[in-house]
Symmetry: C2
Subunit: 447 residues, 2 copies
């Protein structure tokens, strides 16, 4: 029936289908599937224990009650749920209010665009801003793969600024800006995750935030601020870049995947930049994102939006209130991981092995520097022989690097799993350091 065995050649498809990180991510999934008993520090997902199926029904009902209390007729409420909705979103007011309450970000409702997860928000912002083939997006190295992937799909050039152990340094950014300008490119924006970054766990200091805003002004850059781990972190928070922004230099991206739940697929962009046009009326950057969104997903699922709105409404519209419990939980799992690392790898052993790690005060991730190549082969040995899984940090380097570092995610595990997992990890590191990673000798355990 089918006369050909191959219908298309991958080489004839768009370059984004050959993104190397996809193959490495697939390898991680395979490993996870092959060793189901292994303890995994890989997934950057929220802890399941906060979820309960009945919440979905309660959340949606809560939003419908809110609409009724606001005077919407039953027919109108039915249409809100069932029909095509506004491309900019149904719950912009609630989001704008929570930004004021939780973050001190005070922006017009019209600058908020609700998206199919924060990923779509990144995608729309990149598409709007990167107009010309010479435009370039600055990002950090290491960097969240969602932004590099979106850039690849859109054919957008990126240039990486190396992240230091305490964040981005102004001089490093300026060096990259100058290099790009010298190469005939136009740096348009810089993508940053100021708080408890994925993958590194690094947080930008207040001074670095102010310097970045100043630098953006001088070099006519926009800052794309993505901060999904802020409001699931306990303790004092530094101000968002957006709340410090006096000249509308910052496009702020938001996600409800960590703060409410990922399955809703609801995120947003705050884009209050005024766009002037040679012809026609001035508008906001948000209006332009809405136009693009209408050609990508039309509008965001009303059910997802209703669930997020209901969750917000149950907590006086405040994400901080909603996340008091989870933030404490994640603080505890991070603390447990760091304490256990310190116990399993005390200073002398650490020095002997050449291991070190950072100590994030929040978020889901930390970076561990190791004395061996932390590649897929090492990951395979770790899962098979030691029953512990992690993410090679090299996955997150857009221009190479990170070969001797791993990312540990602390969000998804219980305290008991963390303690066992860190012990296994220490055994694995010892074995790799001893054998040089040939996998032929040293301590072994089967899982």
């Amino acid at each position: 029936m089918n006369t050909r065995t191959r219908d298309l050649r991958r080489e004839d498809l768009h370059a984004s289908v050959s993104l190397p990180v996809m193959d490495t991510m697939n390898f991680l999934n395979e490993i996870t599937h092959r060793y189901p008993e292994a303890i995994s520090f890989a997934p950057g997902r929220p802890y399941d224990g906060f979820f309960d199926v009945e919440q979905i029904f309660t959340y949606i009902r809560r939003y419908l009650d809110h609409l009724a209390a606001g005077g919407d007729s039953p027919a109108r409420i039915r249409d809100v749920l069932f029909q095509y909705g506004p491309t900019a979103g149904l719950i912009r007011e609630l989001i704008a209010a929570s930004l004021r309450e939780d973050e001190g970000i005070d922006v017009p409702v019209e600058s908020v665009v609700v998206t199919a997860g924060c990923q779509e928000a990144m995608f729309l912002v990149l598409r709007a801003l990167m107009a010309d083939r010479d435009d370039v997006l600055l990002l950090t190295s290491p960097c969240y793969v969602g932004i590099t992937g979106a850039a690849r799909v859109l054919g957008v050039e990126v240039a990486a600024v190396p992240e230091r152990e305490d964040g981005l340094a102004r001089e490093d950014i300026e060096t990259v800006v100058k290099e790009q300008v010298a190469a005939g490119r136009r740096p348009r924006a810089i993508y940053v995750t100021p708080d408890h970054s994925n993958p590194s766990g690094v947080t930008m200091s207040l001074q670095a935030r102010r310097e970045l805003l100043d630098l953006a002004e001088r070099h006519d850059l926009l800052i794309v601020e993505d901060s999904p781990y802020r409001l699931v972190s306990a303790g004092t928070r530094l101000p968002t870049l957006k709340s410090l922004d006096r000249n509308r230099r910052v496009v702020h991206l938001g996600s409800f995947s960590k703060t409410v739940f990922p399955g809703a697929r609801v995120g947003f962009a705050v884009a209050d930049q005024v766009v002037g046009a040679a012809e026609g009326r001035d508008g906001l950057l948000a209006d332009e994102l809405v136009k693009i969104k209408s050609m990508v997903t039309v509008n965001t699922s009303s059910l997802g939006q209703a669930a997020i709105a209901g969750a917000l409404l149950q907590h006086s519209g405040r994400i901080t209130d909603l996340n008091a419990g989870p933030a404490a939980y994640y603080a505890d799992t991070m603390r447990t991981t760091l304490d256990r690392l310190a116990r399993e790898l005390p200073a002398d052993r650490r020095a002997r092995l050449g291991v070190r790690w950072n100590e994030p005060r929040g978020g889901f991730f930390l970076t561990l520097r190791v004395p061996f190549r932390a590649d897929n082969e090492a990951l395979g040995r770790s899962a098979r022989d030691f029953g512990v899984i992690w993410t090679p940090m090299s996955y997150f380097y857009p221009e190479g690097g990170g070969d001797h570092a791993i990312r540990l995610s602390t969000s998804y595990l219980t305290r008991a799993d963390i303690e066992t997992g860190v012990s296994r990890l220490a055994e694995f590191i010892e074995a790799e350091a001893t054998t040089g990673g040939d996998g032929l000798s040293g301590s072994r355990r089967s899982v």
Copy 2:
């Protein structure tokens, strides 16, 4: 506080933000808002009367029961709803089964990718296939704006094949293919809506379908088949291109927006083409769409998918069963519109005015040819003076045209509104034909 009044120039943003159709669509929205009492033949949305808020809860509950009956644990079911889900979708099996039952399309489950509405499916398929700047997408003129918009966002070149009153003619397609090849371009795919097309209402004959498949084979084209109005139409259906496809030439796109409800934002692509790679394993085009989707929306809302699955499960997994009522309703509104047109504009009056229309046997739309320029100005007069709204057909012509035609959508109205609306439309046409559209004399009514 804000030192600049304008932060960005529209000319510095991507070309897709200046898509002319967005401005015209905005005009239509403004008109609809300004004349709320006017009867509108514009929106191509399903009829509200089939929806009931409680269905949402029943649908989602039905899907959760289905998972439990299949042996999923409560913890697993909770994670299906709340956590990140597989990028390819949760409900591929149900969709593949309904395609077999409803459409005689028998494809592996792995070839189905669930998307954030059919719009995202278009977007992913375009991105995967249009790899090179010389690649060109063929489409019809007039054409659904979602595909031209997606092409614009991705910077994909399009070439229009004029649609005849009975569909696409093989010779017209071949002419465009030859022109494009002569211009150094590579025609990669042709986008078609074979059944009750939006905007024209035209359906492709069985012979035209076979010829298109044959032509695709000869010119090494893929066919992107989009058919959202098929299963909301009563009566006998011609086979889909995909069910006639013997050589995996057809990528079939699906939407649940008309058959279940738009707010779920769930659609899908069927991409069973085998992709060979110089390095690595062969895979399906679906796998490549999944990779791109992971960089656009990550995965489709679990709540939307759960609702669609629940609706399907309530009707033995068959969209045809689920849509028996709506299909009969839409058949009646289309018939009512055509009957009323014939009564208001009988043969002699029609000939005198120079008006004619096609007679679709299903779907939501029909085309009316009129003796005046059916532009935004005419639409404004129609709404203001006659209380009737329609869509200028010129909105749907990617390369210009359609100035003397309007699209009527018959799906959203009640029978009574249709009868009144068509009478008003006939009065408006008479006035335009008489006054030449200067809006200064002729029959008037206020709304």
